[in-house]
């Protein structure tokens, strides 16, 4: 179809001369694309150029003090927070998706309610999660400012992401797999754990990695739950993640160079995580076909 309609450049120019309105639209559309790409390249380029020269070994020393403003403790706190968050949210997110896809019957009222609430959770801004985490986990459960409070708050925040990606991955598993398993005499439980979940694993994994990206980049939900104390933190201590470290540095305005360097590290980590997630997702799609 496309080859039949292909015009030579000269024909195309002539066609546009006859329809200046169309040419204007083409220009607008192209301009939007250029603006979008240019903005992104400028943003990433600027952060890299300003930050990379400021990356010094002192910034990665294991002990934080106000001279070296090391980001290493913050990086370790981030890893800890991400691990605890996933430990809390993955079982619930995957379990909920399994229920929705494998158990729930069509037209089930509960399913509708679960979907509506999950959609609501997706739309809630992170500052509201932060407030709720502070009021519920921090005050009502007396966990105070701690990594645990922060992680529990984030677990609710990323729950809909994990639920949705797992659901999509489960729906991609062909019914013939399930039928084959039932036909061989396996029960529902065995079919789910031995056949369906392994087949959907890469899709689920890509969703989990995506959630990690959100956890690493999150600030507003953590300031009043995990707190802003510098230095390595145990589960029940207050500690800042890398994104919060970045916020504190740029807010004080005392350590311009270090803030630039921290921005690079944060940006690169988050973008790498997102790239891995989409790579895994692509592998999953290729595997399906």
């Amino acid at each position: 179809m496309l080859t039949i309609n292909r015009l030579s450049v000269r024909d195309r120019i002539r066609a546009y001369l006859r329809h200046p309105g169309s040419f204007l639209l083409l220009l607008l559309v192209a301009a939007a694309a250029v603006v979008t790409v240019a903005t992104l390249l400028f943003l990433i380029g600027y952060i890299l150029v300003k930050g990379v020269p400021n990356l010094t070994p002192e910034l990665f020393s294991f002990i934080y003090n106000s001279d070296n403003v090391s980001m290493m403790p913050a990086i370790l706190n981030t890893i800890e927070t991400a691990a605890v968050t996933l430990a809390l949210s993955v079982p619930f997110g995957v379990g909920a998706a399994v229920y929705l896809v494998e158990y729930a019957k069509k037209g089930n009222r509960l399913v509708g309610l679960v979907r509506i609430t999950a959609e609501t959770l997706t739309g809630i801004p992170s500052i509201i999660y932060g407030l709720f985490g502070m009021l519920f986990f921090g005050t009502a459960l007396h966990w105070g400012y701690s990594i645990l409070t922060g992680a529990a708050t984030l677990a609710i925040m990323v729950l809909p992401t994990i639920m949705r990606t797992t659901e999509e991955a489960l729906l991609c598993v062909p019914d013939s797999y399930r039928e084959g398993s039932f036909g061989l005499g396996a029960g529902k439980l065995r079919t789910i754990f031995r056949i369906v979940l392994p087949a959907a694993a890469p899709g689920i994994l890509s969703g989990i990695i995506l959630a990690v990206g959100r956890i690493v980049g999150e600030t507003a939900a953590l300031i009043y739950t995990a707190g802003t104390v510098a230095g390595m933190a145990g589960l029940t201590d207050s500690g800042r993640t890398l994104a919060i470290h970045m916020y504190v540095l740029s807010n004080e305005g005392l350590h311009k160079n270090e803030a630039n360097a921290t921005a690079v590290v944060l940006l690169v980590i988050v973008l790498l995580i997102d790239a891995v997630s989409s790579w895994v997702a692509k592998r999953f799609e290729a595997q399906k076909q």
């Binding site: 329809h19 694309a33 679960v114 980049g217």
Partner: protein, 289 residues
């Protein structure tokens, strides 16, 4: 015989566990509502609802809690972000869906995803070190931290949200509509903009609503560039404070009624977001019919 009943029991128990994980999102939404409203509404009542929502002075030191400037601030900033983000976002979505060759698409799609992945704190930092000085130099009577700056930054930040939701809906319009328009003699641009885009309007509208939600709920990036003065702004070069930033700025040291007034600010924001979520799902449902 015993084996079979044991299996049945096990299947039932596991189904119960999956069901329990599925209702977690319902519980989460219920808890968030209960805790926010229970902590915020009494303060509203104590201050007086009219005084709280309609008062123009926010001076916690003098027991003045009027959040009208913040409500207006949020509306201005969100509106400005839409003015910038919506045209570019929709044109870019049109470009991705109908104009760009597959080879360019394979490069552009990940670019848009990258924009979505950048943490808001990095956007805020970029705004603080690039946009704020730029505005300070090019406009008189402004120290840079202004509504204009927040609008520019949020306009960029909502781009991936709008593009990501609008592109599939433009793509989903049946090819025969496009072919019909071409067969009647319309140019490519005219067919796209007068046939495909109107056909996809509910999806595009839903994308804009998503963008509104994102802009309204954004906290950290806005806080770093918007100036945060709690007063009704007189020009777009003046600083302002939004609902989200009001919470983050003062929650750290607030006590008693002040603290509860901040939570009540969160309640107002939460209600706004719930309304937007309702609009979004209503538009989506009407699009499906």
């Amino acid at each position: 015989m015993e084996q079979i009943t044991w299996n049945r029991v096990r299947e039932a128990v596991v189904q119960g566990i999956f069901l329990a994980t599925a209702v977690i999102s319902i519980i989460a939404v219920a808890l968030i509502c209960v805790f926010l409203f229970a902590n915020g509404v009494p303060a509203m009542r104590e201050i007086g609802i009219a005084e709280f929502l309609g008062g123009t002075t926010w001076k916690p030191g003098n027991d003045k809690y009027g959040i009208l400037p913040m409500i207006l601030g949020s509306i201005y900033v969100t509106g400005g972000a839409l003015v910038i983000g919506v045209p570019i976002g929709i044109l870019m979505a049109v470009f991705l869906a109908r104009f760009c060759p597959r080879r360019v698409y394979r490069f552009l799609k990940p670019t848009v995803d990258l924009l979505a992945g950048i943490p808001s704190i990095v956007y805020g930092f970029f705004g603080l070190v690039v946009l704020v000085p730029w505005i300070r130099e090019h406009f008189d009577r402004s120290n840079g931290q202004s509504i204009l700056c927040a609008c520019l930054l949020l306009g960029i930040m909502i781009l991936p949200t709008i593009i990501g939701a609008a592109e599939p809906s433009i793509r989903a319009v049946e090819q025969s509509c496009y072919e019909g328009a071409r067969a009647l003699g319309a140019t490519h641009e005219r067919s796209v903009f007068t046939v495909l885009v109107p056909a996809a309007k509910s999806g595009i509208f839903a994308a804009v609503v998503l963008g509104v939600g994102r802009a309204l709920g954004e906290t950290m990036a806005v806080m770093m560039v918007v100036g945060n003065q709690p007063r009704v702004p007189e020009s777009i070069l003046a600083g302002v404070r939004t609902l989200t930033t009001n919470i983050v700025l003062e929650m750290g040291y607030a006590t008693d009624l002040h603290r509860e007034a901040l939570i009540a600010t969160g309640v107002v924001l939460f209600v706004f977001i719930l309304i937007i979520n309702l609009c979004f799902s209503a538009i989506k449902r009407s699009g499906k019919e």
